[in-house]
Symmetry: C2
Subunit: 140 residues, 2 copies
């Protein structure tokens, strides 16, 4: 074995090509494979994205709890990752996922398929998607 | 006519229900009606969102140029808005749009359909979507 220090960054070029913001985060859009529905929006830091790529399951950075957040760790509604994409500016991640643990998939903590369930209608926001499962029975 | 000052905010409840960030902005995901492809990611301030809702065409806030940016003002690739949604936290907007001016639609300044054309493959980012039109002929 070499006594040279292991060059961690040499393996991490793809991570360094991302333009991390001042907090070391990047916004992430999670989109369902097949339906192409936009499920949710969250953030990742380097470790979250690295773990997501390695494990094939979505790991985010929770800004409110200030810790890594393996999607589904409480609810069981994990996201199996099919593709990871970045945009033209290298500062937004698009994750194509299969939303597991319920059929149809539940990505939102309100028990809905998608977090984007409020639609603008004549000057007001209206909930237009059904609750698929009572959140009280999802988070015990 | 009344001499009462016009209560602008009374008509703007839906705008105030959005959790604007410290810069008065909200992130926006633009998604294509029909294909459900995620086209791009940008930001809006109150005026941009208000104009988008009123005009039915996407108006963003350009953070780099620090001004309102009517999508397509240079390229002609305007976005006709079909739906405006917000997420469960009221802090992300999802815009469902028809991408006009070219068939198939071009949302990216690189001349591609979507800004999310770089895919993670074995530790590197690879461009996997074709350029539909030379940017030099889009932006004269």
């Amino acid at each position: 074995m070499s006594n040279e220090p292991f060059d961690y960054t040499a393996c991490m070029d793809w991570l360094e090509q991302i333009k991390w913001d001042a907090d070391g985060l990047v916004p992430v859009i999670a989109q369902e494979v097949g339906s192409n529905d936009v499920l949710m929006f969250a953030h990742m830091n380097r470790e979250a994205l690295s773990r997501t790529a390695q494990s094939g399951q979505a790991v985010y950075w929770s800004r409110s709890r200030r810790r890594l957040w393996a999607k589904g760790e409480e609810s069981g509604h994990v996201q199996q990752v099919h593709e990871i994409r970045i945009d033209c500016d290298n500062d937004v991640v698009l994750l194509k996922v299969r939303q597991l643990g319920h059929e149809p998939g539940i990505a939102c903590h309100t028990g809905r398929h998608s977090c984007f369930f409020q639609r603008y209608e004549q000057g007001a926001w209206r909930s237009v998607e059904p609750v698929l499962k009572d959140p009280a029975s999802i988070y015990k």
